[in-house]
């Protein structure tokens, strides 16, 4: 079966520094694939190349078999690639419902429509409200997004992504900077998405990664040194020395 996302020999250098060194991995349909690695391993550069904000020097990215390597971020989004940002990006002056309705609008016909009031488009609002309920923000639909707590903004980002009905969801450190309770709530939310869509999860919280991931790829100095199930990664000697060893002493 064609993988939902296929990354082949992705290479990117900044001057003499090879930040992505022939990175190769596949994400199967419905799989939650985590990318872990120590600071400076090139995780952020990788997600920039996956989402389309940075062009690779060489290599290929395919989504459901279609080459998307040269496509812009909006073009990838329209094909079904959604993402959250490491520093949350929401439309702060909009209500939650408006934020999510805009994501529905992006895939529901032309936005070069000038006459009909968008706030009264029931089809957009209904789907947006549904996505907000899914992430647990159903009660806050009329709130202004800028007034949300950090964790709630993360939830909103996921609602925006879900409203796009994506094939692949990139989550860039969704638990970073959240408190214990918020972190647990987000983990439960992400666990609930498993199987419904393919997810690439970049995350520092090892406990969450090992609990959530179907497979994990370990990135060290721009290279994938191992890919496998959580038990395989835990048992991998190379990973232990390069990365996990630091924590387990």
């Amino acid at each position: 079966m064609t993988p939902a996302l296929s990354v082949q020999s992705l290479t990117k250098s900044f001057g003499a520094l090879k930040v992505s060194d022939a990175i190769t991995f596949d994400v199967a349909e419905g799989e939650l694939h985590a990318i872990i690695g120590p600071n400076g391993a090139g995780k952020t550069t990788l997600i920039h190349q996956l989402s389309g904000s940075l062009a690779p020097d060489a290599g290929r990215i395919a989504m459901a078999g279609q080459d998307i390597t040269r496509l812009s971020m909006p073009a990838r989004a329209r094909l079904g690639l959604a993402r959250s940002f490491q520093i949350t990006r929401i439309l702060a002056g909009f209500t939650l419902l408006e934020n999510v309705a805009l994501a529905v609008q992006a895939r529901s016909g032309s936005s070069f429509r000038f006459l009909r009031p968008v706030a009264r488009e029931a089809a957009l609002n209904d789907q947006a409200a549904e996505a907000l309920v899914t992430v647990g923000l159903g009660q806050s639909a009329r709130r202004i997004a800028g007034t949300l707590s950090h964790g709630e903004k993360r939830q909103l980002e996921i609602a925006i992504a879900l409203a796009m009905r994506p094939k692949v969801l990139l989550l860039d450190e969704p638990l970073a900077g959240t408190g214990h309770a918020e972190s647990a709530r987000l983990s439960t939310l992400i666990a609930g998405l498993k199987g419904r869509l393919s997810i690439v999860l970049i995350e520092h919280d090892m406990e969450a990664v090992f609990a959530l991931a179907d497979r994990i790829s370990v990135l060290v100095q721009g290279r994938v040194i191992a890919t496998g199930t959580p038990p395989e990664i835990r048992a991998n000697a190379g990973v232990r020395t390069a990365y996990l060893g630091e924590e387990e002493g």
């Binding site: 989402s51 904000s53 812009s72 971020m73 909006p74 073009a75 989004a77 329209r78 959604a82 993402r83 940002f85 990006r89 929401i90 439309l91 702060a92 002056g93 909009f94 408006e98 309705a101 805009l102 994501a103 609008q105 992006a106 895939r107 032309s110 936005s111 070069f112 429509r113 000038f114 006459l115 009909r116 009031p117 968008v118 706030a119 488009e121 925006i160 796009m164």
Partner: protein, 312 residues
Amino acid sequence: MIGSDRAMLILLAVVAVLPPVLSALGEPFLTVILSRALIFATAALSLDLILGFGAMVSFGHAAYLGIGAYAAGILAANGLTGLEVQVPVALAAAGVFALVTGAISLRTSGVHFIMITLAFGQMAFFLMTSLSAYGGDDGQALAAPSTLFGIAVFDGAARFFYATLAVLALAWLGLRTITRSRFGRVLAGTREDPARMQAMGFSPFGYRLTAYVISGMVAALAGVLLANHAAYISPSYMSWARSGELIAMVALGGMGTLTGPVLGALAFVLAEEALAKLTTHWRLPFGAAVVLAVLFTRGGLMGALSRTRGRK
């Protein structure tokens, strides 16, 4: 936004009854000044679409006023006084100028965008000063007032006043509709966070450029009125200082509210007239007043208005 609509309707209603009142008070000339304020209100309204809703700080918006004025002036000089010809020509000229300069300017952002729109505004300014057949530097008198299918719709101060009021009301209704549409929501989204919009699948460029063109065309409509108001066309309509004044009107009134820039323009033009009567050095206190108003009324006059209403 409901409050903003009500404020605008009250404003239009109050302004509409002023001409007979002013005549009764023996100040008919104030109707003429008020007409001028309404023309700038229309121009400020058009700027709000790109500045307030699209976060595009255009420092060349006066160029569109000038394009509208020169379209009317050049056609009138050649015997075509009908608005049925002048308005389409003004809209087309402004639309093409906005499309070309916008397509280039919108490849930049921030200070670069401000500078490049200023540069295009200056280009238009110097183009008009070089039109020696139409007065060059000095400009020239409008050959004849515009008509509509042969009817002298601009004849007399009161008629002209109501014509400008009608144009303002139509521009407000039109822009109000656009800003609440699908298109308007995307435009406001690009103001809030362009990267988020791209991640949703929107390419901001096309939406921004469309807004830029619409904005320029509405400003050109104000320009046609301006030429008739002064009965004169002059390159000074499109000076960079005028572009700055338009930005000040929008900021003073409250960006992204539509009603605010109309209030801002009325306050700006009327205060300018009042201060100019008191002292020849009126620009100094006037500048200070604008700065203070913007600093101390968060969200401009419209922001101050909604706060006082909220306190009740």
